[in-house]
């Protein structure tokens, strides 16, 4: 962790209710549950921020309503909101989200990750980098970077169920 924090005093938000609205269909093994925005949100909400012992959900970086899933068309669109417009961690946060979804979602999904429009001063550059799979592949061959990503993903499986006990 760096000595000088990019955003030393971030706003911390309350966790939303963790559990999804359950329907009878979800208990019926004969019915396939399509992947939806809630499922994708659950996968990424508890990723840790690279510089604070808080989850992306607690920092309002990821929000349920900014995820769009079309299961039939194999499409997942995730928008995230950096905590500050000049956040130099934006690419790393986006990379963590990408790796999490790469490891968790069925291979058929095409995932697009972007910062929410107007929330980052280098929006175009960050978006371009995050969606260039060759550069993502090269980044993930960097042992140090991969370690940082894995650290951020260590809490990802909490799926919003537990506040990180730091």
């Amino acid at each position: 962790m760096s000595q000088t924090l990019i955003n030393a005093n971030p706003t911390v938000y309350n966790l939303t209710k963790a559990s999804r609205r359950e329907t009878a269909d979800e208990y019926d093994d004969n019915i396939e549950d399509p992947i939806d925005a809630q499922e994708v949100f659950d996968l990424i909400r508890s990723i840790s921020d690279p510089e604070h012992p808080l989850t992306l959900e607690q920092l309002n970086v990821t929000q349920h309503q900014h995820i769009h899933v079309d299961d039939n068309r194999n499409s997942v669109q995730v928008e995230f909101t950096p905590t500050i417009p000049h956040c130099s961690m934006a690419t790393l946060i986006g990379l963590c989200i990408r790796v999490r979804l790469l490891r968790s979602l069925p291979e058929r999904f095409k995932v697009d990750i972007r910062v929410r429009q107007g929330t980052h001063q280098s929006e175009t550059a960050v978006n371009k980098q995050l969606n260039d799979k060759e550069r993502v592949a090269a980044a993930l061959e960097n042992g140090h970077l991969l370690e940082v990503v894995n650290q951020c993903l260590a809490t990802a499986n909490l799926r919003g169920h537990e506040v990180a006990s730091h």
């Binding site: 194999n74 291979e107 058929r108 095409k110 371009k128 969606n131 260039d132 799979k133 060759e134 550069r135 592949a137 090269a138 061959e141």
Partner: protein
Amino acid sequence: MPHLELLATLEGHQDRVWQASWHPTKTLLATCSGDKTVRLWAPATPTDFTKWVCVDTLKGAHKRTIRSVAWSPSGNEIATASFDATTGIWERDPQIADWECMATLEGHENEIKSVAWSSSGALLATCSRDKSVWIWEVESDNDFECLSVLQEHSQDVKMVAWHPKEEILASASYDDTIKIWKEDEDDWYCADTLHGHASTVWSLDFNAAGDKIVSASDDKTLKIWKQDGGKDGSWTCETTLEGYHDRCIYSVSWSKIHGLMASASGDNTIQIISKDGEAGYRSVAVMQDAHGVHDINGVAWFPTQTHQDWLASVGDDGLVRIWRMVE
């Protein structure tokens, strides 16, 4: 209506496959992968083209992904470009009956994205995320001398391709442009910059005459560029092909034999595009889900008349496929 028929599926790579390159004359295909190897594939028998085997594996020389592979025009050497920032030059040693890395070209600061031999085999070009294009002179005894370091792209350079006959090089970049490089009295310079794509240009290829270029981009379009006013004329966009792909186009191959273009995309499809009239082009065949649900990273037409209807494709599924264009 023409369509693509699957001839063979080649299994062996342990990671995504990035590029396929045909031997200049033989029925021999080289493919490179995130598994740090190049595999060479050939039909199991000289007459049955439905069964292919991996006849050689080039390994050990690169520490990271091999992004690009290219045969020299003689077919005696293979060049490999790796994310480890080196280019490997390989030769087959008949004594041990295996391919060996005879030279390693160093100099780029980070990942090398593409490597290409000039038509005469006298020059080699490489390009990198370090934004530069390097031109190497091929000397005897696996000696390579760097002739020029071209640093005019403002971003990651994705691909280099030589003119089919002359010593003219084209490069495609993350800065959304294509640059044309020429030599004037041992001095390489940027002769033209082609603006028009709205995002990363991933791939390009010349036509047989060398007076046109097709380029493929993350903006989901293909563009055809043509050179005006003879040899020294500038390049202008003749046409933009839109609506054929829904996602990033990673590769395009322009057959020097029959003139058809093939494009491969993150939308899982291969499109075959043909000239239609004076300046028009249209898709004459499409293969959806050519690698199942996976991105297709590379396509390459067979380079000679013998099997001119063959197209190789490689994908994120780690597979290599050989297709036949059937009328």
